[in-house]
Amino acid sequence: MLRLGRQSFADDRLLVMAIVNRTRDSFYDQGATYAEDAALERVRQVVAEGADIVDIGGVKAGPGPEVSAYEELRVTAGFVARVRSEFPDLVISVDTWRAAVGRAVCQEGADLMNDAWGGHDPGLIEVAAEFGVAYCCTHTAGATPRQPPHRVTYRDVVRSAIDDTVALAERCVAAGVPRESVLIDPAHDFEKTTWHSLELTRRLDEMVATGWPVLVSLSNKDFVGETLDQPTQGRLTGTLAATAISAWHGARVYRAHQVVETRQVLDMVASIRGLRPPASSTRALA
């Protein structure tokens, strides 16, 4: 059982986490949902499309103009409250590394702290424990938030991802975050070359074998773009291929821009694995 705040999910459920950016400059949507009303419309759309979780972010992951904690709070906390009032049962995740932001959004009804920078602010774990919400442990190899990778190296990137995220997960449990509410994420592209992200995808079963539920964030990322030589808007096919492989390996949560396509891939893989019956099977059965 995976418990994300107010909702619990059976172990064979694959979950789509829809990205909702309240940023001016995120790489894929370039500020399309920076305005609060546009972001709320995006939430309505992805919920209708079958998203299980929305992941609200107020700071672009890559480098760019600084976003202060105050500004991040301003665009996330009130928005979480609005989403919560319209969708009382929806799992709301917030993509932040700052404990102060985490505290504010938990007060407004967030269910999951998606700490994209791997425990950079240790106080965020305490917030998750205090509010009894879920926490996602990402592998960023100690990177400073928003600094791009530069000649990064690992003796074994999968071993590093497992060791770091499992250690962080145990820290969460020790701090009081419910064990069934802790996820691990290899964090494709974060402090990694494309080679590293490909290897993490290829060997994702090793992360799944830790027993911690695995979240993957693949959507339209640079490792897809570099692999297929595609600009940002041409990466959906590669994203879905990586999604399928990750699902085959047993990842549980998929952070995505395109909900419908991701859901279909997950359903297809689940059916191939024999975990989900076809929506309809009458062919040659009449």
Binding site: P63, G64, R151, R155
Partner: protein, 201 residues
């Protein structure tokens, strides 16, 4: 002083950039420089930056290519292999400006600033542009004094991996007290990070 300056980008190893080869010209210039440096000598003294950002002391290749040890030393050995020259290497791992070792031919590893574009390792820092100009002018003009007096603090902020090794090259020039014939063979920043290839003879 006789020397060649080359970068230490992992992309100099052909297979690391996948199917594309965005630094073919750079690699050609670096190989030529190493070959010229090695002419008529049996040993090269190799100044290898380590333990600073961009110059890891232990580098395992992301592609899975075999090899470990300092990135700069691996690049130096690779360039010597590609140049096809038979020389012994006296490798000096450099993590701060130190005394210049004896030797008739210096192979100096180092890059310029890494803060020249939105996608650069250090993002954009306007101070990078004049700083690279200063290094380029010094390499082109054989100006040991300018290299020896590089602003080390600013160079560190701009992620200049050559900040120590360039300064040591400058000091070697000053102590030799002879003019050099200097050529800057390559200067570009295809990934927002400046690469130089230079020859001093």
């Amino acid at each position: 002083v006789r020397a060649a300056v080359v970068p230490l980008t992992p992309l100099l190893v052909r297979s690391e950039s996948g199917l594309a080869d965005p630094v073919a010209d750079l690699r050609d210039e670096a190989i030529t420089a190493v070959r010229e440096l090695a002419e008529g000598v049996s040993r090269l003294t190799v100044l290898c930056p380590v333990d600073i950002v961009g110059a890891p002391a232990d580098y395992w290749w992301p592609s899975g290519r075999a090899g470990s040890g300092a990135l700069s030393e691996q690049i130096a050995r690779h360039l010597v292999d590609l140049a096809g020259v038979e020389v012994d290497l006296d490798v000096v791992l450099v993590s701060e400006v130190g005394p210049v070792p004896a030797g008739e031919a210096l192979l100096v590893l180092g890059d310029g600033t890494a803060c020249r574009s939105q996608a650069a390792p250090g993002f954009i820092d306007e101070r990078a542009f004049p700083f690279d100009d200063l290094i380029a002018d010094a390499l082109e003009g054989g100006d040991g004094d300018a290299l020896a007096r590089l602003d080390q603090d600013l160079a560190a902020e701009l992620l200049v991996t050559g900040r120590h090794t360039f300064a040591m090259l400058g000091a070697a020039k000053l102590s030799a007290r002879r003019p050099v014939e200097a050529e800057l063979r390559y200067r570009d920043d295809p990934f927002g990070m400046t690469y130089f290839v230079a020859i001093w003879s």
